[in-house]
Each structure stands twice: as C-alpha cells, then as structure tokens.
Subunit: 326 residues, 2 copies
C-alpha cells in the first residue's frame, strides 16, 4: 500500500511514525503548502513535495491521508481529492458531518474512489462504541467523558488573553460522576458535574495574575460553565511537565433487559493516550488500509466508521482473524 500525506503537523508526523509499525505500508510522499525545501521529515525514503504537484501522483498512491484541520482545510480538501484518490480524514466538527459526508460522497462516486471521513477516536472509536452499545441495549443511557487530557482549543483560548505568554489546559472527568455512572445510578449530569478544567499559565513580565485568572474562569463557552482551576507557573515548568499531548476518555452505555427490565448492564470503553495525535494517526492508518481494500473490491463513495466492516482494518486474512482473535 502506497500512502501519501497532505499536511505535516502533529497528525502528519504521527502518520509517518505509524507507517513504520505496519509492514504492509509505505509512505511515498508528504505534500505540503509550505516551501518543500523548508520541511524536514523523519522518513528517509519519502519525498517532500509541494501540494501543487499532487495531481501528478494520481495513479501512484493507493490512499491519501488528509492531515489538515477541520475548520477550513478538510471541508475543501477532502471533497477535492476524493475525486482522484482514495482518501481518509479526521474531520471532527460533529455538527457539520452530514454536509461533509454528502460533499465527499458526491466526489468519491464521480471519481470511483472511496473516502472515509471522521476517523479518529471521537468521532471514530467512541462513535463506534456508542453505536454498537445502542444497537445491543436499545433501552438505556449514554455517557461520554473526555480526559484527563489536553484540549488544544481551550489552551489556545487562554493564550489569546493579553498578558499570557503560554498555557496548557487539561479537561478532567469528575470522579464522583464517573463512579455514579459505573454504579448504574443513571445520573442526570450538568456540564459542571461532568468535567473540571485545570489550567497551567505562564505570564508575561508584569502581567496581572488576579485579573487574568478572573478572565479565564469567566470566559463564556470555554470556562464559565465549569469549575476551573488556574495555576501560574514558570516557562521552564510548563516545558518540563506539560509539553505532552495526552488525552483519552470514557464511553458508557447503561442499559436494561428482561421481561420486567430487572437486569442492568454496563458497557464501558475507555482510552488512556500518551499522545492524542499519534493515536489518532494510528486509527487513520488502519482505516487507510480499509479504504484500499474496499476500493479494490470496487466499492465507491463516502464511508464512516459505521460502514466499514472491522476485518477491513486488519492486515490479517479472514481465516487468520477467525483462528487467532475470535
């Protein structure tokens, strides 16, 4: 399987690293909007090329993995490139997924290609677990918790405050809420009851800590609805203790069965990830394999994780899977 990457940020670097762990794959090219000369990649064999050359690779790549952002890159890129490549993306703006699906579906069908969208862990593996669990236990409640992990969006929001030099924000599930769900109490939880937010902030010289703290905890949408803790630390401390990008979370379904609904069942799925982008990349890679196999069978159009039979993700044959994993 010959792979290409478009976009070489955290996600692109994660895909590059993950390819090394999958002997059936080869990274051929990294396409970038920057000057290709300026880009230093880790792979010794892959070419770094300007995105302007991408169409020349039409028949030389089996799957193109789109590693751009969901705000402006993917809504344009995925439909565009699904006409000429099998593509996989990690589009994660939940509300716009139906629209994105339709755009990619139209292009991929026109081009006779497969496009798998919204791949990662949420949307992605968490969605899968919500869906399986709902199909199995039709009467019940769903709970999703995120963290403990770094929220890029919330960290950015703090960094935009005047007087803030740098910042990292962690989203943390509330332990007592998690316990209530695990104990099948089917609690009704407000936003504040589900997650807390913890911020590590480096100030510019002479900045007013009190004022900045108030600005953070009262920020609408981002922090006002949560219990937020702010720690002011040094630049060195931030680099030393908060340079990772961990994340994770929990998906629960608590459901009932029995003639009188007398039996409770809890399905729990949880992730603890040292590196959010590297894990997401590993999911993208597995779905790239699926896109390749589905295209080889003559399938076309847009797919999500719901449409992809699990076996397509694995390098093993059906026979091997049944023998070793069933």
């Amino acid at each position: 399987m010959r792979l290409g990457i478009l976009g070489y940020g955290n996600l692109g670097r994660g895909v590059e690293a993950a390819v090394n762990q999958n002997p059936d794959m080869e990274l051929c090219t990294v396409f970038t909007r920057r000057n290709p000369e300026s880009l230093k990649i880790n792979s010794k064999t892959a070419k770094v090329l300007s995105v302007s050359e991408i169409e020349n690779w039409k028949d030389k790549l089996d799957v193109l993995i789109l590693c751009g952002g969901s705000a402006t890159d993917l809504p344009e890129q995925t439909p565009k490139y699904a006409k000429i490549f099998n593509v996989v993306d990690s589009f994660d703006t939940h509300a716009r997924i139906p629209e994105h699906f339709n755009n990619v579906d139209k292009s991929a069908k026109e081009g006779g290609k497969v496009g798998i969208i919204s791949v990662g862990w949420d949307p992605g593996l968490f969605s899968l677990n919500r869906m399986y669990a709902n199909a199995i236990l039709p009467e019940g409640n769903d709970y999703t918790f995120w963290g403990r992990g770094v929220s890029q969006g919330h960290s950015d929001a703090i960094r935009r405050i005047e007087g803030v030099k740098d910042a990292k924000q962690y989203t943390i599930p509330v332990e007592v809420a998690l316990e209530a769900v695990k104990n099948c109490e089917n609690p009704t939880l407000s936003t504040r009851e589900k997650h807390t937010r913890e911020c590590f902030v480096v100030l510019e010289d002479g900045a007013d800590a009190k004022k900045i703290e108030a600005e953070i905890v009262n920020m609408p949408n981002y922090f006002a609805d949560y219990d937020t803790t702010v720690h002011f630390i040094s630049d060195e401390e931030l680099k030393k203790n908060h340079s990772g990008i961990p994340h994770g979370g929990f998906v629960f379904r608590c459901g009932k069965t029995g003639l009188n609904k007398e039996n409770n069942h809890i399905i729990e799925y949880n992730l603890k990830l040292d590196s959010n982008p590297e894990f997401t990349s590993s999911v993208l890679i597995a779905y790239a394999r699926a896109a390749y196999k589905m295209a080889n069978e003559g399938q076309t159009g847009c797919k999500t994780v719901f449409d992809v039979a699990p076996a397509y993700l694995s390098p093993k044959s059906g026979e091997e899977l049944r023998k070793t994993m069933l």
Copy 2:
C-alpha cells in the same frame, strides 16, 4: 423482521425478552425438541411448535436464531438450517470456530442465505475489541479477564462431585493484575495470577466437607491452577444470594507509538452484566438484524462479527447514525 427461535433455554428466553425492546422485530415461532404442549412461553403472540415443523416456515421467517449449546447442538443445527434460513448462533468453542465457519459457509452459500456465527460477548464483542485494538496498535500486548461472574461449566463440575447437592462458582479477576495492566506495566501473568475462583457449595446430608473441599481445589483443568476458595452454605442461602447469572470481563490492549516507541496507549473495553444470557441474547438480536439486511442486499455465506459493518446492527438509517452518533 419476522424471527424464529430454536431452543427455549436461558438464551431463548433472553431472545424472547429482547424482541420486546426492538419495535422493528416480531417473534413468530419458538421451535422446540420437547413436546410443544409442555412449553410455557412468555410471548402471547408467538407459536410454540415442534422442530419437526420447522421446514414449513422456510419462507415465513426472516431470521432463525439458534439458541442451542455449542457442544452438540450448534455444530449440527447451524449448517443444517443455514440452507433454508438466515441464521445467527452463539457458537463459543473457540478452537472449533474455523471448522464451524466452513460448514456454515458451504450451506449458506448453497441456500443463498446469510449465517452469522459466534455472536455474543466472547466470542463476539470481546473479539471485536481485540481486533480493532490490534489493527490500531500493531505493537503491544493483549489482556482478557473474565468476571466477576458465574461459570456454568465450573459450577457443573462441582455439582458432579459425590456429596454435593448444589453449587455456584464465580470467576474473579485478580485486582493487582488488573491494576498492573491499567498502569501499562505490560505484566506477564500466569493463569493463577489472572483469576481466582470462589465456590458456594450446598452439601448433601452427612457429606464430608473437608474431603469435598480438597476434591474441588485439586480438580485438574478446572481448579488446580487457580487459587480457589470454597464456602459451604445452606440451600436457602444459595437460592437467596446466588441465583443470578451475572458475568462480565475486561479486554485491554496496551500499545506503543512514536518514532522511538516512546508513547503508551491503553484501550480498555469492559462489561458488567446482571444476566449473562440476556445480554448475549441482546447481541444475537442485533446481529439478526444485520443478517436480515445483508441478505436483503443479496449477500450470502457465513459471516462473523469481523465481517459485519457496524451500521447493519442498528435500526437507524446511515443518515440518522451520522447525525446522532458520529
């Protein structure tokens, strides 16, 4: 969807109850090898019929759910009925799955039907989670723990001992082993280090408790390799506190990513089930829906959970799923 059940034990009763929770399904018939007159079912509308009449229902059922045992019933029944019905079974003898698959595949293709085998939670949902997690994290370790739950096989083994009137056996994961796995220590665990076994035993009048306890804890295959605790209790206590059939367990994959394998990730899936057969039945029902949809699309042959795209399990359309669950 018109459903039939073959076999009315715990699993059959579970399917009957689960059908009530799925408005797109109707239970039409329960086929039994017993005298149909002797069978009291809960459903007011379904017919109870002798298995000898089953072929007359050839065109009147969309899916037949096989609720027999894996030792002798399913190896014969599933290939036999896959010729004339779409079928789903919970065949769980892991070592014989490849052979069972081939037999069912041949029959189902001959009859132009779909047969989904080895559906439940292990094999089934646990297998799915092992497979997804292995495809995503190719370098890592797998751990499966079962319990706390009732093992029917181990309870039966105790009941066969002379002087034992009744017994229930619980399989219990060892807490310290679970913790080591959750902490990403990648431990190597012996059989004894993974699970303990706890037995609640009712003696016949005059039976020798010491002798029976020794017989249990030293029983080869069943108990000798485990730390086993035996409690002797009264008949009343067994009925009062141990009449349920709870089960559950954990599937973990601990894997590494990064150019230098510097990042750890843990994927955990766990189930806590008040009723093992009712939960298994709920999984069977969801895959019955999948068998029906796949057959309607013209697919034929034997499938496992690996071959079934998740969306087939749900009563919702692709559009609804993308909107509400992705």
